[in-house]
Symmetry: C2
Subunit: 801 residues, 2 copies
Amino acid sequence: MLSNHFENGMDMARLAWSRLPHSEDGELDGVGLLSTSSNRNGVESLDYEVIENYAYREEQAQRGKFFVGYNVAVKWFFALLIGIGTGLAAVFINISVENFAGWKFALTFNIIQKSYLAGFLMYILINLALVFSSVYIITHFAPAAAGSGIPEIKGYLNGIDIPGILLFRTLIGKIFGSIGSVGGGLALGKEGPLVHTGACIASLLGQGGSTKYHLSSRWLQFFKSDRDRRDLVTCGCAAGVAAAFRAPVGGVLFALEEVTSWWRSQLMWRVFFTSAVVAVVVRVAMGWCKSGNCGHFGGGGFIIWDISDGQEDYSFEELLPMAVIGIIGGLLGALFNQLTIYVTRWRRNYLHKKGNRVKIYEACLISVLTSVISFGLPLLRNCSPCPDSDPGSEIECPRAPGVDGNYVNFYCGKDKEYNDLATIFFNTQDDAIRNLFSAKTIHEFSAKSLLTFLVMFYTLAVVTFGTAVPAGQFVPGIMIGSTYGRLVGIFTVNHYKKLNIDEGTYALLGAASFLGGSMRMTVSLCVIMVEITNNLKLLPLIMLVLLISKAVGDVFNEGLYDEQTRLRGIPLLESRPKYVMRKMTAREACGNQKVLSLPRVVKVADAVSILRSNKHNGFPVVDHTRDGEPLVIGLMLRSHLLVLLQSKIGFQHSPLPSHSRSGSGAIRHNFSEFAKPVSSKGISIDDIYLSSEDLEMYIDLAPFLNPSPYVVPEDMSLTKVYNLFRQLGLRHIFVVPRASRVIGVITRKDLLIEEESEDSATMELQSTSVRGQRHKTRLLEENGADAERPLLNGLLVQNQR
Amino acid sequence: MLSNHFENGMDMARLAWSRLPHSEDGELDGVGLLSTSSNRNGVESLDYEVIENYAYREEQAQRGKFFVGYNVAVKWFFALLIGIGTGLAAVFINISVENFAGWKFALTFNIIQKSYLAGFLMYILINLALVFSSVYIITHFAPAAAGSGIPEIKGYLNGIDIPGILLFRTLIGKIFGSIGSVGGGLALGKEGPLVHTGACIASLLGQGGSTKYHLSSRWLQFFKSDRDRRDLVTCGCAAGVAAAFRAPVGGVLFALEEVTSWWRSQLMWRVFFTSAVVAVVVRVAMGWCKSGNCGHFGGGGFIIWDISDGQEDYSFEELLPMAVIGIIGGLLGALFNQLTIYVTRWRRNYLHKKGNRVKIYEACLISVLTSVISFGLPLLRNCSPCPDSDPGSEIECPRAPGVDGNYVNFYCGKDKEYNDLATIFFNTQDDAIRNLFSAKTIHEFSAKSLLTFLVMFYTLAVVTFGTAVPAGQFVPGIMIGSTYGRLVGIFTVNHYKKLNIDEGTYALLGAASFLGGSMRMTVSLCVIMVEITNNLKLLPLIMLVLLISKAVGDVFNEGLYDEQTRLRGIPLLESRPKYVMRKMTAREACGNQKVLSLPRVVKVADAVSILRSNKHNGFPVVDHTRDGEPLVIGLMLRSHLLVLLQSKIGFQHSPLPSHSRSGSGAIRHNFSEFAKPVSSKGISIDDIYLSSEDLEMYIDLAPFLNPSPYVVPEDMSLTKVYNLFRQLGLRHIFVVPRASRVIGVITRKDLLIEEESEDSATMELQSTSVRGQRHKTRLLEENGADAERPLLNGLLVQNQR
């Protein structure tokens, strides 16, 4: 009985904090990290704990309502900035890629007028140069920018920090690496990297720049809280998807379904706003480009495959070929995931161990291979005669090479011929997809060409996956899917002999099915497909296909991102506990590890030796009542203890809780000292120099600890512990003995506290009382009588807003 | 130290349950209810606790993977059923409303060819008859079906059950009441009621029918778990919105943003599927109706206000009038909320206290008033000459009365004239909105007519809100908003003198702004507006307007649903804790209420007197070690204790934990006994007859209790307690003294248990071991030596899947 302890004369310090409002570390601990030495596969555990101390909180309380408004306004302003930044980055990447690719194709076509061989070589060389630039940037400058980045961001939002993923250099590497790898014609896309780009921009904006961590102290304080940082990165992800596909709703749903681990509905509106800003920025930029300011860019680059001309109605018999598309998508998608697992493992275990040089060779080799296949295969293919065009139709055949559109003349002898394989293979991917999706071009592509393309491109996509360049899987997935979709479409047209069946629509369904079978996204993918094709009416069909392909894929393995997350050793906490946890108790989960606890007043030398002896991130603090009974008084974080040791301000000579010293110590510590910059490692115990005199001193931890971490009884089922940990986003839970009595039972009615009437009154009262209290505090300080008001009381106040 | 207790010879019973896996009541408790007598404003606390006992769990374990698949399949099948059911209900309501309204207008127009007065009277009478039928159904048959039902469903999904909201009679009342009130021309819509209808259908399907609670025991068990029921109702809500607006994505987002309190991303795909099924059902039904099978229905009724003809581009100067629309929307929306609060309070405190008769009079009076205004005002309005139509345009002017479309000839003298007020006022609301949204009809409506309509309809909407009929606020909101939107559009056209400004687009923005200002929905509203107008390009504009109107509205009051939820006394737990909680501790929240705890073996007479003495829904069970130290061993639910008392199976003569009896008692109790039907009240202590002999007996509670409810230390900040309670959806939290020591600290790494390798092995192992154990259990039972394996171990196993 705590009150009895006090009555029995336990030191009043504890009374102070038990009466005062306590710190709330609930969601705040959200992005906590692996707390011990379990650094698996190079995943490092950074420390994200955020401090907003007593002084900070007073400041806030005084600001009152104006501050709340200011706070909200700043958050929205940052959402705007993230939207604009991501939009501009997307525009820049797109314009660059389109220009490089356009220039490449124009040059090649010019040369092949004279010599196909010279054109071939030039094509290979340009691609090689672009891919080399990309892989060089990644290997030598920004290794964290390789791949799509989505698994890493997912991990970050789940509470794990992989070093370097949100650095400025990663952002730069991602942008320029994408331009090189996509412009260089590899079988990968720029969409995944754009998500990572958006997240980087958000994180960098949140911390106010890259090298200079203090752009403005006023701004910075908003994003010192871990939850705010997480929110920003979530906005950035949605912005990335919105920019990649020009799909604002899809972006929000992608962030919600695929990336985040914790979602608050308050955040949704802000995320949506960010996405919409991106859409506006991209739209404005495209309008500006239309007037010819962007070189080869024109209308292309941004994915909008408008198939509003596609079929609107569908008959019952068509559901069968559509189901077949779904099944193929599930099978090929699951196979893709499985193959990429093998390829990634092999790369990790053999190839990439040999250093950067091998990575560069590998990427260059794949580039040459891709160039040879995409140029060479269309050469081997015979040209087809142009279809008899209606006088009214706008279809032009053959088109001059180097111009966007269907029916490309490539290595064709006669005048009225086109090369269907070149139309999809020897082209930028966006144009190829546009051609595959195109409606009213029945029988443009022969089954043989499509099958050739499918096999070759699928192989290339598998091989390319995991090279050291920024790489998205959306566009390759759409390419693969639309190819077999169109194949099924051809068979359907031939079989049912109906006029209203459109091969382009089947290509779209194929794309959806492959993405569903590989990534296993559902709602967000559905909405993205609807938004990029600008055709709401296809929604039920897309959904049907996705349902089937996801179900088929789930039989074999997990989604691409999940598999990759696991391969990279990112220890995600899933939303559902594992089955085995049902048979375990909290105590069993802790194992036999001895708990290292700190006394309330700790000798510096002891603290140092405890910190050196292990890598734990948090330590229980145990005090004794005057009766000698032990009592757990809170949780001390390693990072906070390190700050205390480094600053030496709280040091005292006496081993007793010294009232005046610790109180002033708390005041003297600025809250920002406890907050760590996002992208550096924080201090280590080895960085701190302590003289032998210092080592003989003591620190009173009471003002700095978290007085009430969440606890569970030792024999609680681990499933329940897991739910507590995961849902509340905690970093530490104390396992304690079963209680001896129940002081009260809290039910819904106890939590229905009406604030209504007291709202404004409380506000007033509180701000004045705090001011009064503060005044008193100063007086007490001067008298050396103030004490024990814990620094952490004000912690995380921000987060409750 | 618990293990010490055991070593010290504490009875082995407790050891049994501390070793066995424990029950997980985490999310399961989700829809727990007000646990005490705090029945405010007639909100009753039903008990939703769900039991899946030991026997049930064994059954499940044996079924293994097949069962999991079956489980998933059944859930999807129910999603399909909900989609079909809600879709059909929506089609039925729409066809009925359209037919009643069409017949009404046709008849009236026929009569006014001869006499306007006779037509006027006929119009009033038909409306009166329809409204009377609606209000009669509601007052005499299904009182819970009044209003939109959204606040109630929101409460249900937050964990509060308002009696009757999910009954079969409510469903029937809602459907037929909607037809009467909407067909009768009142200023209300059928969209909110459709959400309620969807929820009712979902809930009824989940419990397998209305009166017969056991359609099939196999099916039923899936939806015994509270979480499954909640999921079904969530699906139903989304289906309702999808059916009302033919907006599947909007439906999902509405359920996510506005209605649910707990959201799992696994649920999202299922909810989306339900919405898509609705879309398909509605589409098929509409296709069938197009061939003339549905009377007056035709294409109308279902909201699709296609304004793809609207303006596509917008200049920078137009942002000003659009911002003005947003501000007007915020102001008028907030005013609407405020006025409805007064009206609702007045109704509740004065009018509706006088009984059903007054409610009927009231509705009839409002019906007559509405009829008089909507018929009379257009009569007073002078007709306008038809615009000079281009030869190519399809606009017909004047149209014959009784036909859908613009430019209605109503009480016009000359030939080439139309009555603009009649076009919007004397019409079904859907047609009126279509006319207001219509593009390329510049200056069809005069500012004077629009202003008249705005004032009159706004007043009618406020007055109608809260009458005892099913009533949605979407359509009235759209009407009001599009009116002033079009007004602003007129001024903009006049001021900027540009040709590409379209009044219809401004009407759409106005509609969005009013809904945003009143309901304060954001993403879902945005998506719904985009989906109903079928124009993705307006998204940024809609969002801009919504941002402004929501921000303006938030200055004044809360959203319509939140206000109404509070007025109805539905004690929602918000997702964020109240500010005052920061200054309170868990102990303070409990107040000075004495905790009533039960001993492990309780005398029946004592149990009865405890149950009679209070209304608590859960009791701590406290046992003593052999050393005499007390120990909290779990939580006993009132409902479970009542079941035990009623069945009398566990009764024993000895006051000691008797091993054989309770063990067999646990076995003899079927898990379904502990589950309560959704829509009845469960047993009360007064329903149980116990003889004086019974009262002298004892019950051993150990097998029936929840062995490890969540606990918090007494001085934890209430904010943290709130987060725990709310995020995990709990019903009871024990407040216990601060622990004396920490046995272990659980961090992320402790929860990263790999199931991968052991997965299949464990499955195998577990199913055999369970079977083995079961065999042993039987043997032990026979020997009378088995004991204490708690019945609740298997509880909620379902929910972990």
